[in-house]
């Protein structure tokens, strides 16, 4: 479904040169849920932004359904690939109601039946009609993220890119959003890429995982390998230990990567 080959991203030049992504390759199958894990600066979100077309300075190959993507994306691309952002407070226009935010997508692509589609997609993400004309400031973080998911779904994409969709939310809300994403993926047979720093979230959501550090691939794991601890790289193992909570003795063994 989606294939990334030898992806490089370089920002800036001269002294400010930042090789943000170094030679990253992976394949995501139809209906698969793929996870990109890493700490800050690992380049995981940059990879996602390249696929979405938000970054133009990449080299390498990105293919969807066997079709190579160029730096400029046609309008039809956005009906196939959609994205949910990390910060639910920043990803909705503060002066637009939920209704306007959702309708805008329908209007851009001249899909028609805007009202019907809005009500339907709101229902799908678990928001009743009473939310339709609210402004973002009248919504909680979890509700905002539901609206963001609705906005991604209203164009009926095949691929959903999720950039830390729950890291800004409380754990109880995180559970609700993760459940929602799982349900929708199953129902719509979506292919998804989830970027997260949280191993537990990724292992809960994904089938295959790519661990990244400082722009480079550390290792590719299946979810089962992660669970059974079948890990080859020290870096991944350290990440796993760290995600299990505070352990004074283990911390002294940590290395900087």
């Amino acid at each position: 479904m989606l294939q990334v080959d030898n992806l490089h991203v370089i920002f800036g030049h001269g002294l400010d040169l930042n090789h943000a992504v170094k030679n990253v390759s992976f394949t995501v199958g139809q209906g698969e849920s793929f996870g990109l894990v890493g700490e800050s600066g690992s380049g995981k979100s940059t990879v996602l932004n390249c696929i979405a077309g938000l970054i133009n300075t990449w080299q390498g190959e990105i293919e969807i359904d066997g079709e190579r993507l160029s730096h400029r994306r046609p309008k039809s691309f956005y009906r196939k690939v959609q994205m949910v952002f990390q910060d639910p407070y920043g990803s909705l226009h503060p002066r637009h109601t939920v209704d306007r935010t959702l309708k805008e997508s329908v209007n851009i692509h001249h899909l028609g039946d805007a009202n019907l589609r809005v009500v339907k997609v709101l229902g799908e993400v678990g928001l009743g009609p009473q939310f339709r004309f609210r402004y973002p400031h009248q919504l909680s973080g979890g509700q905002r993220q539901r609206v963001a998911i609705a906005r991604a779904l209203i164009l009926e994409p095949e691929i959903l890119l999720l950039d830390e969709p729950t890291s800004a939310l409380d754990v109880s809300i995180q559970a609700e959003i993760l459940n929602l994403l799982q349900d929708i993926s199953k129902k719509r047979n979506l292919t998804s890429i989830l970027v997260s720093h949280d191993l537990a979230v990724v292992s809960h959501m994904c089938d295959n995982i790519l661990v990244m550090s400082q722009g480079a691939t550390v290792e590719a794991l299946s979810c089962d390998q992660l669970r059974s601890g079948d890990i080859k790289q020290r870096y991944t193992r350290q990440l796993l230990v760290a995600s299990k909570g505070y352990d004074r003795a283990a911390i002294d063994q940590f290395q900087d990567y």
């Binding site: 959609q82 226009h93 306007r100 939310f131 004309f133 609210r134 906005r151």
Partner: protein
Amino acid sequence: MSSTRRWQHWLLSDSPASPFQAAAGRTYLGLAEFLKNRLAVFGLLIIAALILIAFFAPYIAPCDPLVTNLVNRLQPLSAAHYFGTDEVGRDIFSRIVWGSRLTLYVIGLVAIIAAPVGIIIGTVSGYFGGLIDTILMRITDIFLAFPKLILALAFVAALGPGIENAVIAIAITSWPPYARIARGETITIRNGDFIKAIRLQGAGPIRIITGHIMPLCISSLIVRITLDMAGIILTAAGLGFLGLGAQPPSPEWGAMTSTGRAYIIDHWWLITMPGTAIFVVSLAFNLLGDGLREVLDPKSDN
């Protein structure tokens, strides 16, 4: 009482049933916030009064502002002439009342010309960045490099004196700060997730700039323009004072102070009355602008 309650309930509803109700509720909260600022309300009242006076000038002014009466020249304040008469016997009160039309005309036209130019140049420049930004901002810099009044003077000198040309000159010199503000706002907004999100919906730059960026720039521009109104009035008055704005005998406040200057020692009211009018209206715009800033400026938004 209960019907007021019901309205308030409808306006503050957490689940509006229509876009209109949502917008109305938002406006209501903004208005409530604004009304808390006494000084701003005071400013607004003065400006409302100015507009009413301008509108009903023929009914308010006791005399024709242009008719001279040399017998009655330089009369002090009296019941017949509230603000006295000037050097050719015109009623100063009537002239100030009619002059309010000119003042409104000037600031209205300047705002209508300068604000759109500023916001379009600023948002386009900020959104696209790169070469477009460089070119547009250097042009803006050129305009900013001259003192406003001097540049206006130069334009008026080239275009010829007159109130229309004064308006054009002031508008030409007022847009650069608006472009700067709009550009600054755009640059912070541009990198927001919600702009990325709309780009990912497939929206083009025109839709993004007009539908998503401009509405967020407008509030800070309104604040700035309101605060600038005082300056525009003063510039217009300054041009009038120098004889390059409204031409005699039109009752422009700046021109009136200019002629009053010659009589300042013995006949103080000639210059004091239009001067006070300029002062009061400028102050009112400043107070209003400060109040609006508290309501509209996103930076003070919690």
